[in-house]
C-alpha cells in the first residue's frame, strides 16, 4: 500500500473512486461466474428433461430393448436391472474393503505406514476410469466372453477410494474421548472399534457409500470393455454381459438413427434423476450427521 500522503482529504479522490470501481467489477464478475455455473447446470438439466420426458411411459420402463433400426418403441427394463446388479455387486465389494482400509488408516496405522497407503488411496481416486476399464479387460475379459463380474469389479475400484475417504472423515470426527473411555473400561481394541467407533460413524459411512453409488451408477468407462455386448432381454446372471444404462446411452448417442437419440435422452433423464436425487439426499444427510458428530 502507498505511503500516507500528508494532504489526504476525507473526501474520496479519484484514486479511491478507481479502487472502488475495481472492487465492484471484481465482485460483479465473481457473482456472474457463480450465476454462469448455475446457468449451465440448468441448461443441461432442462435440455435433458425437455427431450427425455416426452419419451417416458410405463412401457419404457418395463419392455425389452428395441431391435436396432426398427420402429418398435421398446423399453429399458434390461438396462435398469443390469445397472442395479452391477452397482449392487460393486457396492458389496467396495463397502467392506473401503471401511477396513479406513479403519486401518485411522485407528491402527503408524504415521510411517499411513503415508504410503493414503497416497495409494488418493492415486486410486485420481486414476482415469478408462484405465480401470482397460485393466479389468486385460485381467478378466481378454480371451473370455464379456461378463458382469468384470464390470462390477471395475465399478468397485471406482467406489473404493470414495468409500475409504468418506469413512476416514467420519472416523476422524468420532471424539477420541469415546475411544479412550471404552479402552479405559477394559474393552479391547476390536471391541472398541466394533462397538463404539463404528456405530458412531455408521451414518456418515452410509451417506458416503450412497455418494459412491451415485458416482458408480454414472460411470461408463469401466464397463465399456467388460459389459457392452449384450442381449436385448433382462439378464440376472453376472456370468454374462449385462445390459446397462450408461453404456447404452453411449451407444445410442453415437448412433445415426434419430429414434436412438430419443431413447438416449429418455434414458439420460432417468439416470440423471437417480444420480442427482441420491447425491442431493446423501449430501444433506452427510452435512447433518457431520454436524451431529461435531456438536457432541
Amino acid at each position: 500500500m502507498a505511503a500516507v500522503e500528508p494532504a489526504l482529504t476525507l473526501r474520496g479522490d479519484n484514486r479511491v473512486r478507481r479502487r472502488r470501481i475495481v472492487n465492484r467489477i471484481a465482485e460483479g464478475s465473481a457473482t456472474l461466474a457463480a450465476l454462469l455455473a448455475i446457468f449451465v447446470l440448468a441448461l443441461v438439466v432442462w435440455a435433458i428433461a425437455k427431450r427425455g420426458a416426452s419419451e417416458l411411459s410405463w412401457g419404457f420402463f418395463t419392455q425389452d430393448l428395441p431391435l436396432p433400426f426398427s420402429n418398435e418403441s421398446g423399453g429399458i427394463a434390461p438396462l435398469l436391472v443390469g445397472s442395479a446388479i452391477l452397482v449392487g455387486l460393486a457396492t458389496a465389494m467396495a463397502l467392506p474393503v473401503g471401511v477396513l482400509i479406513a479403519i486401518f488408516l485411522e485407528e491402527f496405522a503408524t504415521p510411517a505406514l499411513r503415508a504410503p497407503i493414503q497416497l495409494a488411496v488418493d492415486l486410486l481416486n485420481g486414476l482415469p476410469s478408462i484405465i480401470i476399464g482397460v485393466f479389468v479387460f486385460g485381467l478378466l475379459v481378454y480371451g473370455h466372453p464379456q461378463n458382469g463380474w468384470a464390470g462390477s469389479i471395475g465399478l468397485a475400484i471406482v467406489m473404493l477410494p470414495l468409500v475409504t475417504r468418506a469413512t476416514q472423515e467420519v472416523l476422524r470426527l468420532v471424539p477420541s474421548a469415546q475411544r479412550e473411555g471404552a479402552l479405559a473400561l477394559g474393552a479391547s481394541r476390536w471391541r472398541t472399534v466394533v462397538g463404539i467407533t463404528l456405530p458412531a460413524a455408521a451414518g456418515g459411512i452410509l451417506t458416503g457409500t450412497v455418494l459412491a453409488i451415485a458416482r458408480a451408477a454414472g460411470e461408463t468407462a469401466p464397463l465399456l470393455f467388460a459389459s457392452s455386448i449384450y442381449a436385448r432381454t433382462i439378464n440376472w446372471n453376472p456370468n454374462h454381459a449385462m445390459p446397462n444404462l450408461t453404456v447404452q446411452i453411449f451407444i445410442w448417442s453415437e448412433s445415426v438413427d434419430p429414434e436412438d437419440h430419443k431413447r438416449a435422452w429418455a434414458s439420460a433423464l432417468v439416470l440423471l434423476i437417480f444420480v442427482l436425487a441420491t447425491s442431493l439426499i446423501a449430501r444433506t444427510l452427510l452435512a447433518r450427521s457431520r454436524r451431529k458428530l461435531e456438536n457432541r
Binding site: 465482485e27 455455473a37 491402527f108 484405465i131 476390536w190 471391541r191 461408463t220
Partner: protein, 316 residues
Amino acid sequence: MTQELGRGRRLRDRLGDPLLLGLTAAAALGACALIGVIAWKVISGAHLALSTFGLSFVWHETWDTNKSIFGALPAIYGTAVTSLMALVIATPLALAIALFLSELAPRSLQVLVGSLVEMLAAIPSVVLGLWGILVLGPFLGDHVEPWLHNWFGFIPLFDGTPESSGIFIAGVVLAIMVVPIVASISRELFLSVPSELEEGALALGATRWEMVRGVVLSSSRPGIAAALILGLGRALGEAIAVTQVIGAGYSIQWSLFKTGDTLASRIAGQYQGAATKLQVSSLFYLAAILLVIGLVTNLVAQVVVRKFAFRGAGAR
C-alpha cells in the same frame, strides 16, 4: 460361571484384536497392491506393441488398421490441447466461483449455490457428452466458432471451417467438468485463510478485492496450483464425454475446429472390438501412456497438497 464367561471373552479378545488388525492391514496393503497390479497389467498388455514399435510409438502419427501401423502422437497432442483449453476456460471461472462462495455470498446462498455447483460435478459424463454432441456441439459450431473465426481467424488456432464436433467442443465440455472440481477445492482453501488476516487487511482500508488479492489469493497459491493440477488430471483422463464430441479424427492440426482424439477417447472409441492382437496391444500402449501421465499429475498434486497442508498446520 462368571469366570468362564470372562475367560471366553478374554479368548475372543485375544483373537479379535489381531484378527481385526490383520483384516484391516490386509485391505490397506491390498489398496497399495491394486495400484501395482493395475500398472503391471496395463503395461504387460502393451508388450506386443512395445516390442513391435518400441518407443517410437510415442512420436508416430499414423493409426492404420489395414497396414497395422500405430502411433500415439495425435492422441497425445489432442489430450494436451483439450486439457489445456479446459484449464484456460475453467481456471478464472472456478476461482471466481470459489471467491463468491467464500467471500461474497451470504450464508444461505453459500449453501445453495455451493450444492448447485457440486451437482454440476455429479452429472454423469455420458449424459454431459450426450448433451455435448446433440445440443452444445451444433450451437458452438453454428454460432460461436464462426464468430471466433471471423474475429480471430488470423490466429492459426481459430482458422479452418467450424464444425459441430471437434477439439474445441471437447475443450468446452471438459471445462464444464473441471470447473466444479477446482471451485470446490479452492473454496475450502479460501475458507481456511485465517480471518484475522482478512479483517486486518480490511481494517487497513483495503477494499474487498484488494484484500482478496493481497491476502486470500496470495496465501493459498500452492493450494490453487494443486487444485488446478487435480482438475487437469480429470480433464486428461476423461474418456466418454470426449469420445462423444471430439469426432475421432487422427491428425495433428493447429485448428481447434478440426476433429481430433485424445488418449482416453481413442481407447474408448474402440470398444466394439479391435481387429488384431497388435491393435489391442496398441490400445494398451495408449493406456500405459495415459497411466504414466495420470499418475505423475496426481503425484505432483498430492506432493503439493501435503507440503501445503503441513505448512498451514505449522503456521497455526
